[in-house]
Amino acid sequence: MRERTIVLVEDNPDDVDLTLRAFRAGNIANQIVVIRDGAEALDYFFGTGAYAARDVAILPTLVLLDLNLPKIDGLEVLKTLRADPRTKRLPVIILTTSQEQDEVFRAYDNGCNSYLRKPVESGQFRDAVKQLGLYWLIWNVPPPESQ
């Protein structure tokens, strides 16, 4: 089963607010779950810790994942998601600050679906988030659910 939820894994509260603002401005009304660090993200996806009660069969439509996260970094989260049959096809978009070549390579090598660098200019950021929402929530054909 797939909720039409977006999971935002981001530790910087300013970035969280600005991203939520950009979603609102882009008329993206999906429910957004905000997760603050890598360990919490893994708890969420695999129903452990604080999320023990969550039904892990319910997958979000889209994951926006920052790379520089407390506890477990984004790349590690991505690797863990890709290694598990339940989440290996989940659309994951890296949404981060750095555009260092090595980091981009590593993210793609570990199976991210897209890599987005947060622009400083808020207008650009808003455009990017809006396009991203349009594309991934409306146009993109998600992996078929294996019941």
């Binding site: 300013d14 970035d15 600005l18 600050t97 750095s98 400083v120 808020s122 207008g123």
Partner: protein, 376 residues
Amino acid sequence: MDRSRGALVAGALFCTAASGYLVGVHQAGGGGGTPPRTYLLNLNLFGRSLHLTLTVGTMGVAVILMLTVLLAVAVILTMVASHRKRQAEAANRELETEIVERRRAQEAVSRLNAELERRVAERTLELQAANAELEAFCSSVAHDLRAPLRGIEGFSAALFEDCRGRLDQHGLDYLERIRKATARMGQLIDDLLALSRVSRGELRRQKVDLTALGWEVVADLRRADPERRAEVIIADGLSASGDLQLLHAALENLLGNAWKYSSKQPQARIEMGCRGEQHGQTVYFVKDNGAGFEMKYAGKLFKPFQRLHSVSEFPGAGVGLATVQRIVRRHGGDIWAESGAGQGATFYFTLGPAADPDRLSPAPEECSAGNSPAGG
């Protein structure tokens, strides 16, 4: 050595024979008044005595003569031999000291070499550590400086959108300035990162089609500024051996500058080509007919953050040419410029001795024929 010993033995033999002879003469003389016909030889050979009875007439004289000649020869041979020996010994000693000196020098050289190698290894390690630190620093600059900047920019935009009704003209103006300054700082951080990226990583040389690369950059410039009318000419067949990404960044800056600093010309004209060779290296150029600059400030061009135009005249951070200089120098080449205020500018650059190992670049005659900058 052997010869001189032989002569000595002969000498000793002669001496003992002579003494034996005299003894015999003496004994015989004591025995009777008549001259002796028979002599008793008492030879004393190396401590052993030998008794010989000889009948001497002419024979004794012959023996003595023979022995005398032998002695003379032996003495001469001994002298010659000892002279040779002294010479050989002197030569040997010289050779030995030379060998010792040489060995010492060799030891010193290998010691110095080992020391040098150790130092190089040490420095390399230090450099690697410094590089790693720099890299860590850079990505932290990228991440840590940009994040708060995004906050400032984003929330001043939010303030403008949500509360603009409650701000007067002054307030709105300040807000606008905050956002412009933030955008500038964002650009600055990006430029600095690009500058430091140039020095990192290895240089991957490959054959690069500079003509195609130039057109690619120009297409990007036109896309970013579709209203702009500018005539662009890029010579055909420009190629070099270099790092594709770095050369792309270099052309982006040079053509970007030509594009920017000729933007106030009603008929802007930008040209890229090559102009012969210098020290066996192809000289490429990017030329424009824009604002130019006074040559007396040319020394500042390639230093980071140094600008010859104010931000209100032409926007920019002043890092572009510093980046280009690092790129061409990493290739073993150089960059220089010719200009005058209001007279446009020409930037020349080379890409090092390895830039055209098997004549990747057009021959110099192709370069100078028709492709050279007017007046250059």
